[in-house]
């Protein structure tokens, strides 16, 4: 059975980015875990796997960028759960190709599956933020479960984006 996740209201991502004086994302954005509370770019903290996820997505020719300049400040936890960075899909980017969500999550699912080979009961934790086209509101989807579930929830996310 496919996992089911419900959207929750998320912060005004673009306003937070503007307040920090950072460039608005054009493609997929890797968000820090503390976007809402950070007072400056230097305070932004990313998931430990953020740099690797950027490499994995770029390796498959997806347009992806973290909000901050590299090197990113990352939080290293020694938990078994693979904590993936939050992805933000802007409305303008999705309007060019709605399949981007499925493609991106499939790529990340493959990466996570490879990383967790041999790990019994291995789980990933990931959030995805999607900007609606008309309202420009942002909803966040949180997932925790096996890497294969990431590909399953992609369809739910695309359906959500398609509803206005």
């Amino acid at each position: 059975m496919s996992p089911h996740i419900e959207p929750v209201d998320f912060i005004d991502v673009r306003a937070c980015i503007a307040d920090l004086g950072l460039e608005q994302p054009e493609g997929i954005a890797i968000l820090p875990s503390n976007l809402e509370s950070a007072k400056s770019d230097s305070e932004l903290i990313y998931a430990a796997s953020a740099e690797s996820v950027v490499k994995v997505l770029r390796g498959k020719a997806l347009q992806v960028k973290a909000l901050s300049a590299h090197p990113l400040t990352t939080r290293k936890d020694q938990d078994h759960t693979l904590i993936l960075p939050m992805l933000f899909f802007g409305a303008a980017y999705l309007s060019q190709d709605q399949n981007t969500i499925t493609v991106a999550l499939s790529i990340i699912a493959n990466y996570a599956t490879q990383m967790m080979q041999g790990v019994t009961g291995g789980k990933v934790r990931m959030s995805v933020a999607i900007e609606k086209t008309k309202s420009k509101t942002v909803k966040r989807f949180d997932y925790e479960g096996p890497p294969s579930g990431l590909s399953d929830i992609a369809k739910q996310l695309e359906r959500f984006y398609g509803q206005e």
Binding site: E51, G59, H70, T74, R75, K76, D77, D79, Q114, G118
Partner: protein, 246 residues
């Protein structure tokens, strides 16, 4: 190396692993287990030479295959060592040996698909040993912020290359080498840690410290009160099996 050479290496490898399993019981004679460790250690050196040779020749797939076989052989060595440690009443060392065996087994699976196709039962066996031979542990996980890290493959800043940490490249695992830790945020007790060597090693109550495995008293502090525990927060890179030097 042609296909027949690879077949021969795989055949030899399977024979050596079968032999190691044959000795992997607590009732086997200690001297015989030690001899098996020595013999397997010599075979591991041969595998390592092949890995290095293929690495230098840039035969990436073969280098990764020998990397996988090295990791598997290392896992078996650690497993045999665990039995010896247990019989020497060295419980903490035995635990580290078992965790080393588990780490090396998972590394072998990541190294090459042939290992991934053949090792899942062995991984499950090692996890079952953990539950059968040792009491449940209190694991700890430390969280820290990293500002700068480099790639172990190309030595470039980690964000500046295409190598992905944890993946094998021409017989060597990529690791993110941390260069600048800006802050240690917290230490937490967790159920499923990334490194099971990070655990409470002793508990102390009212000045009496006991080992978490043996329950032997390891220290008595006069006038001590309250409860606390000692823990290993971080294991050394030498204990991690995914750090292999070229």
């Amino acid at each position: 190396m042609d296909k027949n050479d690879i077949k021969e290496w795989l055949s030899r490898f399977n024979e050596r692993i079968d032999s190691a399993f044959f000795f992997s019981y607590p009732v086997r004679d200690k001297e015989l287990q030690s001899e098996e460790i020595d013999s397997l250690g010599r075979f591991l050196n041969e595998l390592e030479s092949q890995r290095i040779a293929h690495h230098k020749a840039k035969n990436a797939d073969l280098a990764n295959l020998f990397l996988g076989m090295c990791c598997f052989a290392q896992s078996m060595l650690d497993l045999l060592q665990m039995w010896l440690d247990l019989r020497s009443d060295a419980a903490n060392e035995a635990w580290d040996s078992l965790i080393g065996a588990q780490d090396s087994a998972r590394a072998a699976i990541r190294a090459h698909q042939i290992c991934a196709n053949n090792m899942m039962d062995y991984v499950e066996y090692l996890e079952n040993l953990e539950k059968i031979l040792f009491p449940p542990q209190t694991f700890v996980s430390s969280s820290f912020l990293v500002k700068k890290s480099d790639c172990s493959i190309c030595n470039a800043p980690f964000h500046g290359c295409d190598h992905i940490a944890g993946f094998p490249y021409n017989g060597v695992f990529c690791t993110e080498v941390v260069r600048d830790v800006s802050e240690i945020e917290h230490v937490a007790i967790v159920e499923c840690p990334d490194d099971k060597r990070c655990r409470a090693t002793a508990f102390c109550r009212n000045g009496i410290e006991v080992d978490s495995f043996t329950l032997r008293r390891t220290q008595i502090k006069e006038g001590g009160s309250g409860s606390s525990f000692k823990a290993t927060l971080m294991s050394s890179p030498e204990q991690r099996s995914d750090v292999i030097e070229t």
